[in-house]
Amino acid sequence: MLADIPILSLITFSPLIGILVLLLLPKQNSRWLKVTAVTATLIPLALSLWLYADFDGTLGGKPYKESVTWVNAALNKETMPDIASYLFKFQYQMGIDGISLPLLLLTTIVAVMAALASVHVKKRWKAFYLWFLLLEIGMLGVFMARDVFLFFIFFELTLIPMFFLIGIWGFGGREKAANRFLIYNGIGSALMLLAFVMLVMTAGFRVDQVDQQTQHVYYSGSYEVIKDNLTDPDSFVNAAPESPLHMSDTMRWSIFILLLIAFGIKLPIFPFHTWMLRVHAEAHPAIVMIHSGVLLKMGAYGLLRFGVFLFPSQMRDWATVLAILGVINILYGAVLAFRQKEFKLVLAYSSISHMGIVLLGIASLNEIGLQGAMIQLVSHGLISALLFLIVGSLQERTGTTELGELGGLARSLPFMSGILLTAGMASLGLPGLSGFIGEFLSLLGLFDSMRVLTAVAVLGVILTAVYVLRSVLAITFGPMPERFGALRDARLVEAVPMIALLAFIILIGVYPSVLTEPMKHGFDALLQQLNVKVGG
């Protein structure tokens, strides 16, 4: 029955309800603003859980497809007099599959938790939550848009709210961090837009034959049209090089590399990572939950959706490059995380390290590794959200997250310290928690094709333990400074999201099938294609 309603659009735009209510509330009434915002984030969560329950892995997302023609720009048809129409078609097209669904759930879950974590926000609550909900719309849309331009719009929709959220509600260096964020992501978006335009003007071409006489010719931004054209060996872009519509290898490689850089900045891939360090350190912890928990995942998602699915053979040729980048990310991030004196920067470099694992999973180009990369995305999203949730609560109490100034907090904050320790364990890949599954499957997948690189990556497993324990134990173990004696442990509003996130982390760790079942057939077509190409 879910298929009968436009559930995807409902999920995406449901935060609008919250926005409308917020607009009506007076801006001094922080209590009601907070309640409204949290309630507003619960709606997409409920809807996406409903969708998850309804989702059938074998069908994929077919029942839920939504498509409305949005812009039909007429092109100059004089050159081709014998066709009925010659258009540029831009559609509002939404879809979901095994790859989108886990990330959609991640987004809705993290959004609720971040909204709860925003209780520590001290000023301009109304503006904060308005931007926050707008940001959520953008994130949800990114994972479900099935038209490249619609995707682009949603992608950009996340940038602007994020810019303000960092720049207004962050710490000391917030404005600089926000500028960095905008410039860097702006460059990424520009490259992405260029790639998309190139895609549409080559692989977006389509001819609909209505009958013998009537032909509709158009350029479409539809993901499916582009994907069919690129991956169908009989399509015109794959025709002989003499054909005018043939898509050259140079063109394919150019688009592929543009996409790789555009999404590589977001992921981030070394050496494009410096912008996100500032964001981690300067933005409000609730915002970093979103940033580290969801926004980084958009980079990986884009890389999968556009890089891997549209250009499988380019991907295969560059699998080693990607794996090497992944290993660099892992080791580089881990070594630098070990050095940091500020806990937030430890976590920032740790994110770089963990995103390296995602790259490994993608580079494996087999089902095990790709599933591993997906699980790693969700898992890292949950874990880093939890870690920054704790960071927020710690900062609120101690006024600092410098490792040198903290210590022995297990005494005055036993509950939060326990959660922090468990989150650290999840981060270093302890079995029974979600981090292990993603890490293990990614390594297992990559090991098939690249033994030595995988073995080097396993070194990261050791280094992760080193930096996680170093920083977490510096906070919770050891002698406690006097001034922390009177701290109060987590309040209910803090404990609830902590327990909820931890519950998800444990659930995935103990019973990973909750994630792998819906994803099960998400990679079938791709793998088939890779195999065909390998065989042929």
Partner: protein
Amino acid sequence: METVFTQYAWLIPLFPLAAFILLTSFGRSFKGLGVMVGSAASLASLVLALLVLFERMGEGVEDYQDGFKWLDLSTIQLNIGFEVTNLSALMLVIVTIVSLLVNVYSAGYMKSDERITVFYGYIALFTFSMLGLVLADNMLALYIFWELVGVCSFLLVGFWYQKPEARAAAKKAFIVTRIGDAGLLIAILLLFWYMPNHALDFVNIQNVFNEQTGTIAAGITTLIALLIFVGAVGKSGQFPLHVWLPDAMEGPTPISALIHAATMVAAGVYLVARTFDIFQASQAAMDVVAYVGAFTAIFAATIGVAQNDIKRILAFSTVSQLGYMMMALGLGSLTGGIFHLFTHAFFKALLFLGAGSVIHAVHTQNIHEMGGLGSRMRITAWTFGIGALALSGIPPLSGFWSKDAILNTALHENPVLFGVGVVAAFFTAFYMSRLFFLVFAGRPKGEKQAHDSSWTMTLPLIILAVLAVVTGFVETPWNNTLGTWLSGGTETTHTGGGLVMVISAAVGVLGIYLGWLMYVKGTIARDAVSSRMPWLLRLLERKYYIDELYQVVFVRGLRGLGLLLQAMDDFIIDGIVRCVGGAAVLLGRGGTRLQNGQVQTYGVITLLGLVILIVAIAGRRFW
């Protein structure tokens, strides 16, 4: 034969798991809950484990395996399940007995600690993980529990988290064992991709490697075996990854008995035994195991001679005895290794709990500050003495029989290693007699009126002392029960006859006699060696400077690398970014300057443009 209890063996780990969940959720509100819940869960596990063990003693009992699909991808699936074999049934009983006794003991030992329920929660979690490890039917499941016992060990070593030493020791324990785990992880990856049908379960591994069909190339077999062994080296404190185990003594003493003597540290030995077919398929791997084990045995025994902390002496003794077990396995004697694991679990747990009882009474761990405790703590002294004799290999106590089994094998297979084993046995006897006499003999020191503790602490000592006496009799020259039962009758120990027994008992007696001469009688001065060769004493006291070496090479190395990369990140990578950003700003400023509204500027620019155009066009003409 129909089995009744074996198919419910999966319940054994679940009792402690339930206890852990219960204690973690409600422990804070109910202080007294820990002892009751923890002990009850261990007792339930012990009862079921014993039932399973008895069932397996019958004739012709098949191994029992069951499991479920854990992770189902469309191309492969990973399972989690349990398997009951004679070996795992034996291990179940060892773990549950020691766990129960430590639970009871801790009621007294940890009585005044305000976090006692947390402590019991951790012990329950450990017991669950250790039992899961033992029951695991495949490598992946084993690895999962392998990591979980590691984290429990970490939590318990760091239980007194406010002490900086405990924090450092916990960190070290986790990280050093993780180096081993990385090896084990790669071994699993290799197995997954080389085994037919990606099978990771022990039954298939056994079949594939046993048949010598060459399904898996010899080089890969050796590599897999060695990587598994790296995991075992980390967990079982073998050289060169032994450094964490002595430091782990920062944890509460009952933990040292349970985790760092009887069960978890033996997991490495168990792992090698469980995958013994892989090792047997590669002589090179077997040799590595044997030599590393033998080296560790003598290396740690010599360090034990020069330590002054009662728990550290026992810790090095554990390292050394684990080396014995590894050596036995490497020489091909599964029975010898497991037999020693079995007896060692009881007498070493006994020694640790006895040490705990002493520490509880005198509040110091330095053996030179103790003395004359024998008359005041009679139960502790007697039981500790029994444990020390068992460890020293004095007949007819359990340690004698298991050590004899190992030395027998060594004599057969490799006389050099036999010699190493005998010398190590001598050192063992010597450091134990030194320890015993310094603590329990002589004149009392300190003003405190030391005395035996309550029954919760002495009862476990008595039970373990009985076990330390009797467990050796399962495998004697006249009674080959254990060997036949474990290896299906293909392996016999004690074939060397009386000679090995005489030598082994003689070096034990000699070591003790020497200790008596030095520390009781005083015929030989205590500093007889150290006064002549002070460097030797220092070398042993400093544990051959291995920790210092690691500190310089690895810790400093990592710091240096971090410094280097940080500089690169700050100056080069971020520098380029700043340059690009700066260039954009400059470009913008340049543009702004151009549009400043001054007609003169515009005129100059126009003229300049015109000239360039003309030159360009003219140039093209004449090209």
